[in-house]
């Protein structure tokens, strides 16, 4: 059964598709921005989600370790998302939780809950470039995508894994970013990120992130079940495996305050 909502949505897609065709004629900067804006628009309106994440950390010698997390995120209309992250593994940090109110331009507000001391600590969010739990993902790699966080430049079209993609450059606005730029491959049909290359502060290639096994939720929103980050300079890699995505489960602000941070499981 096709619902009214789905019809409206498919109409929106057609309409939006027309717009993006219209802007193709302008400068590479404007085209890059319009692609990013479109990608954000396609991924707006999911309200909230919860998901489980497994993070496999591997070094050059092939040693690996596992980190298990539970993530809850609430979408806000006029601000960045609110999210709550709970650590289940490694076991010595089990119960540690992380609350983040992200903002498009201002610094994010972040709190860490340490279960042994029962202490909630406000932490500095300027640590964007540091590794998350010893992985190849930095904090900024895991934060929500907001159009305002970058300036853009469209590079070219490319065929990647049998998909037509736009290739655009993104230049971080925040000076605390660990990158000079990111090069992003987005497929033309759904505006899903397929690949990102990260260039360090000296503008040499640092990492490549590949997305795969995309699944659609609520007939609308695409999430990759697998994300692999390879660090070309250190030879280390980190693989993220996402499971149990649940969208629009009715989370509210009350799931994202200091009290919720202290009791989350």
């Amino acid at each position: 059964m096709i619902t009214v909502k789905q019809i409206i949505h498919s109409l929106t897609l057609v309409f939006v598709g027309l717009i993006s065709i219209n802007v193709q004629a302008s400068t590479p900067e404007k085209k890059g921005l319009s692609i990013a804006t479109e990608a954000k628009k396609q991924d707006t309106g999911w309200i909230d989600f919860t998901a489980d994440m497994k993070m496999y950390l591997r070094n050059k010698q092939g040693q690996s370790s596992l980190c298990e997390l539970k993530i809850k995120t609430l979408e806000l209309e006029n601000d960045g998302d609110k999210s709550l992250t709970l650590f289940n593994k490694p076991r010595d940090v089990k119960g540690t939780a992380f609350l983040s109110f992200s903002h498009p331009i201002d610094a994010d507000d972040q709190w860490l809950y340490l279960p042994a001391l029962k202490r909630v600590k406000r932490i500095s969010s300027s640590n964007k470039s540091g590794p998350f739990m010893g992985s190849e993902f930095s904090f900024e790699d895991l934060s929500s995508f907001e159009v305002e966080k970058y300036s853009y430049k469209y590079l070219h079209d490319e065929l990647l894994n049998n998909q037509d993609t736009f290739v655009i450059e993104q230049f971080p606005v925040d000076e605390n970013s660990g990158y000079t730029r990111r090069v992003v491959w987005l497929d033309k049909t759904e505006y899903r990120v397929q690949k990102i290359e990260f260039y360090d502060r000296k503008d040499s290639l640092l990492k490549t992130l590949s997305y795969s096994d995309y699944k659609q939720y609520l007939n609308e929103y695409w999430r990759a079940d697998k994300m692999v980050m390879v660090n070309h300079q250190s030879g280390k890699s980190t693989e993220l495996e996402w499971t149990n995505y649940v969208f629009a489960s009715g989370l509210t602000d009350s799931n994202f305050n200091k009290n919720a941070l202290k009791r989350v499981r």
Binding site: P90, R91, L117, R119, K121, S124, G134, S254
Partner: protein
């Protein structure tokens, strides 16, 4: 006896090994070794080596979609040298009900307040489990009824605390203690209700932009005892003359405030209290800052620098003034986070009294091994030339400590 029963019960629960989503069991076992290079300052103390083993279990159960939950967390430590350090506690045995805008919590719990690192001045709800560690961060479970309401203008917590826990102290054979033994069996109280005095606290805390602010009022039994010298007792068998310290627990009213500003890589911290008792009324404060270099020296290592200053209106301890340990003390420290797979960390802290010769040094390192083990290596040293300074008693107690924890 009491704790023994609970321990058996918790082990029974663990043995069911249920893997339902609503029931969760965790456990931690640890081995600890301490080495004191110097012999004890007091003759009853053991000489160099101290071994202990500890276990902490956690049983967590929730229903109604997580809106009702019970947590049970028993703890036990066995120590081969210090009989007071062999002890058990119910760290937590509580029920929580969650509603949209409030939470009701009842039972034994731990509640932490404050922002600074070297001293936890405003943290008053739980009693310190001093035999565990002299840094004051280990706490005994406190029986409480707590209503926590969330408003647009912050979170308000009301506490009723119906029973009081006495501080733990090392035995005569133990290290890291006062020059004479603390008679923990004969504590005295200002209130005739003794341990049954109903304590009360209310706290508001809120985050406004870069600021996290909290403020509270506490009325009840001071967790910090005054150690009073007992009358001398003549021992009937050998005729020796012994004295001990008797813990005296006063009633107090305390107003506290804590504030942290988080600006870029800087954390600015303030804690302040005003305490009123029958003996005295005074102000005390701990202020400080922390700065972190992220990815220092072109590596992934974070280096944090900490500096804090403690002031207490009670002043120095003299023959006529009880005073305070941290009355005019400077703390500096550094935190190294290696950001590796094993979460390796080193924390160094140095305290210096600005009024008299008294220092203490603490180095703490930790690293995960494999997925389920963690190793901690600590070193502590104390120096003081002032016989009335609390650290003077610890002069011979410099020690190394290694502990290995296994998580299940």
């Amino acid at each position: 006896m009491f704790y023994g029963k609970w321990l058996v019960l918790s082990l029974m629960l663990l043995s069911f090994n249920v893997t339902s989503n609503n029931l969760e069991t965790n456990m931690k076992l640890g081995l600890e070794y301490r080495y004191f290079p110097d012999k004890g300052k007091y003759e009853e103390q053991f000489e160099h080596h101290q071994y202990s083993t500890f276990a902490e279990a956690e049983v967590y159960w929730n229903w109604n979609n997580g809106d009702d939950l019970i947590t049970f967390k028993p703890y036990y430590r066995y120590d081969n040298q210090d009989k007071n350090r062999s002890h058990g506690d119910i760290r937590e045995f509580s029920y929580i009900h969650v509603d949209d805008n409030y939470e009701f919590r009842a039972g034994f719990r731990k509640e932490f307040w404050g922002v600074t690192e070297f001293q936890h001045l405003v943290d008053v709800i739980n009693q310190t489990d001093l035999v565990e560690d002299i840094d004051g961060e280990e706490k005994l479970g406190q029986l409480m009824f707590n209503l926590s309401s969330v408003y647009k203008w912050g979170i308000v917590d009301w506490f009723l605390l119906p029973s009081f826990r006495e501080r733990t102290f090392a035995s005569e054979q133990g290290r890291l203690r006062a020059p004479i033994k603390v008679d923990v069996n004969n504590a005295i109280y200002q209130s005739s209700a003794k341990q049954k005095h109903l304590d009360f606290a209310v706290r508001w805390n809120h985050s406004i932009g870069n600021f996290d602010i909290g403020s509270y009022w506490f009325h009840g039994t001071n967790r910090d005892p005054v150690l009073q010298l007992s009358d001398s007792e003549i021992n009937n068998t050998d005729g020796s003359n012994t004295q001990s310290f008797i813990p005296y627990y006063q009633q107090m009213d305390q107003f506290g405030i804590d504030l942290q500003a988080t600006v870029d890589s800087w954390l600015w911290k303030v804690e302040g209290i005003y305490r009123h008792t029958d003996i005295d009324s005074f102000l005390a404060a701990q202020v400080g800052l922390e700065y972190t270099f992220v990815g220092a020296l072109n590596s992934v290592i974070d280096i944090g620098f900490l500096m804090e200053y403690a002031w207490d209106a009670r002043g120095e301890t003299t023959n006529t003034n009880i005073g305070a340990n941290f009355q005019n003390d400077l703390f500096i420290g550094s935190r190294l986070a290696f950001n590796d797979m094993q979460s390796s960390e080193i924390l160094v802290g140095l305290r210096s009294d600005m009024q008299h010769n008294s220092f203490s040094l603490s180095v703490e390192g930790s690293r995960r091994m494999g997925d389920n083990y963690k190793i901690n290596v600590d070193f502590r040293a104390f120096q003081s030339n002032e016989p009335l300074d609390a650290f003077y008693y610890l002069k011979s107690d410099n020690h190394f400590q290694v502990s290995i924890e296994r998580f299940f």
